[in-house]
Symmetry: C2
Subunit: 435 residues, 2 copies
């Protein structure tokens, strides 16, 4: 008999079917045994009268997480999960597991401390809630790519081993490249800009590496960056429009294809307004001063508290979970940032806040060769390490810009997990290199 | 006026349109000027009587690769590329380029040596042929993902910084991870297997790193691996069936969505037979002996020459560009390889040859915890560095297997470029770290 997936059994009421997966749970109540099989997509319950059907498990000493095959007749059972269950089951222990797993995977919630969950991630990721969260990550990546591909973007894969640090000498991992020093890419920034000269619109989904010695709830040292870059923009507002469409596409993809995961995690996806409200950095500082009496107006950046207040304001005034803050001061932005032509101390850049926390950074970049030479000189950087990057501008680049979304931060903010490491399959932090 | 893409102008005959891109070519013939604009998707020709329309270019000293905006009336012109051209053009030099680029981008072929092409990749990748090849890579990735997603596979992104070398201690790049030794992942092998315990069917598209000190036409030190792994297989033939569907899906995606690129590069895609012929390793050696009088029967692997002969045989006998060779000797395969239960010196593994050259490697893996402990002991490897990997098997894993396709090798074999570096956007080799 052909095996079917657990999520398909509802379409086979009255038929005998075969499912296979991990033995998720097994309990006995008054002479009746309930057995739950978890496969890669969902779960199915089988009900056996007496102990006979379970003899193959008992003989093999097969406990939870054993790999089992179960055949049974699909019967409507309104009280069962999914509204159906398997009756008269025949059970086979394909791969018996005789030791209890280090975490109880069949409780509604994973009851364990952060360290245990991360140490035992190999098994912990099997828990339905963790798995649902990680599958939302796959859905977000798919939504990102589909939205951009439909708008003429081409996918690129750029090198992760680079000869020079991307944006600054700080926070890079160094490695030995056949006897020469090399670094892990902190972002695909330079390469995605270069590739605008080739494809005009590009995106990349890939790992980036930050050797930041921070141990916070919002930092990991390797993460997945969803990068986009596009040519022939007017200014950063063109990029913000594309980012809005991208987020709307990603959230729509999650809502359409991941209803089960969203329900399991009780996630209410934020609505992306037709136009996301936007406030200039200087106005944002004024607003914080006026509404909260805290004067950040001399600061080159917003405080986390200020961002939270702005998020509350956006919800109150605009009914929006999202808020663009534009025009961050040039001195806080990287050298390739395009200034605001009307107020050159401010930049044509933006952050996107989701519920008062930064989610995306982006902006317009410089595109003229001479502007790059001047910007490097101003930043006190030598031109030599940037010679290949500069070649793109030397031989013509259109006005362009882009953005980068951190996949794990997005998942953290959507699902509300308290630590970004819980939004990562196998996190890397200052203390953790395994699993 | 809204700018349109060059590939869209054929739908606007009789209308005035605006296109923008790089000035790909400019030539004058008997008082008529021909100007070709290249945007991210294609090219459009504009024709001007006299020199007046080109004055803005001349005034700015704007040569080829300048970023230009051209407005004109779309006119059917059977002799023009694409069958249409722009008349009465108005030209603007948005970003003038005054230096000739290091490579002539507007010749049909990129006439330069390998080193020049790689040194100048930032600009060389703009050449229509290079760009078409790289865009086929994007199409191959999209086809890979779409085919597997439609079959219940979930995308994963696994860590690239790892605590221990993946399969052996050789050929790994070492790095300093906050004062501790760490390595770049040679493959996602261990993680994709672990994730079979979570999602049952997984795929990953991402960089892998091999510190192989080889300088050949078929080696690069960082490449894009298209990895898949699936549970509940019967044996390696289940995996081979999925690989066949995946390749068929990828090639169908290229044929459907990349006709222009395939035509430009004169690529004839191989047909994927409904069943790819397959030959056992031992029979393959016998065949080589019988047909060619070369005795490789004591060897643990096939020679490149032997593979070529097998490719010719598959074409001749089975009319197939593809050939599976199965059952490679266990001693040449990694420790996690599943042996053939009937002939334990051979493995349940395979290589897929395309036109006589290896394209994909895959197979069934061990899935029982005790088998792993025995295999590590046999290989003389300590269990400790593998403790997290082993945890997956300790707590139950179904019979499983998978495969890995090297994106650049696939592109090389499909397009016939003589060096894998030419199938890579920015290659990394033993001598090359930039651009």
């Amino acid at each position: 008999m052909e095996r079917i997936r657990t999520v398909e059994i509802g379409a086979h009421v009255g038929e005998r079917v075969r499912v296979a997966g991990h033995l998720h749970a097994l309990r006995k109540m008054g002479g009746v045994s309930f057995l739950v099989v978890r496969d890669g997509w969902g779960m199915a319950q089988a009900v056996a009268d007496g102990e006979g059907a379970l003899a193959p498990l008992a003989e093999a000493g097969a406990g939870v997480e054993s790999v089992v095959v179960v055949e049974g007749v699909v019967v409507a059972a309104p009280q069962a999960p999914g509204g159906v269950e398997l009756r008269a089951p025949v059970v086979e222990a394909l791969v018996p597991v005789t030791e209890a797993p280090p975490l109880a995977l069949n409780k509604r919630e994973l009851k364990a401390g952060l360290t245990t969950i991360l140490d035992e991630a190999v098994v912990a990721n099997r828990h339905p809630e963790r798995r649902a969260l990680l599958r939302l990550g796959a859905g977000a990546m798919a939504g990102f790519r589909a939205t951009l591909a439909a708008r003429g973007f081409t996918e690129i894969q750029t090198p992760k081993i680079v000869a020079a640090a991307t944006e600054s000498g700080a926070n890079v991992f160094a490695l030995d490249y056949f006897g020469r020093p090399a670094y892990l890419a902190q972002s695909p920034q330079f390469y995605k800009q270069i590739m605008v000269g080739v494809f005009e619109r590009v995106f990349e989904v890939g790992p980036v590496f930050r050797a930041e010695p921070h141990d916070t709830t919002r930092h990991i040292n390797e993460y997945v960056s969803l990068d986009a870059e596009m040519g022939f923009i007017t200014d950063h507002f063109t990029v913000m429009g594309m980012l809005r469409e991208t987020l709307a596409g990603m959230l729509a993809a999650l809502a359409e294809r991941h209803t089960a995961e969203l329900a399991l995690l009780a996630v209410a996806l934020p609505a992306v307004p037709a136009e996301i409200p936007s406030i200039h950095f200087a106005e944002a500082q004024e607003l914080i001063w006026r509404l909260h009496g805290v004067d950040e107006r001399a600061e080159p950046d917003l405080s986390p508290r200020g961002e939270r207040w702005l998020g509350e304001w956006a919800r109150r005034e605009h009914g929006s979970d999202f808020l663009f803050v534009t025009g961050y001061p040039m001195r806080k932005r990287p050298f390739y940032t395009h200034p605001d032509p009307a107020r050159p101390e401010y930049s044509n850049s933006f952050d996107l806040l989701l519920r008062g926390t930064e989610l995306v950074t982006g902006g317009q970049r410089l595109h003229r060769y001479t502007d790059y030479l001047a910007a490097l000189a101003r930043a006190g950087l030598p031109a030599k390490p940037f010679v290949h990057y500069l070649e793109a501008f030397r031989y013509g680049m259109p006005p362009h810009g882009g953005f980068a979304i951190g996949l794990e931060r997005l998942l953290m903010q959507l699902t509300g997990v308290p630590n970004i490491k819980l939004a990562t399959t196998f996190p890397r932090d200052i203390h953790r290199l395994a699993p």
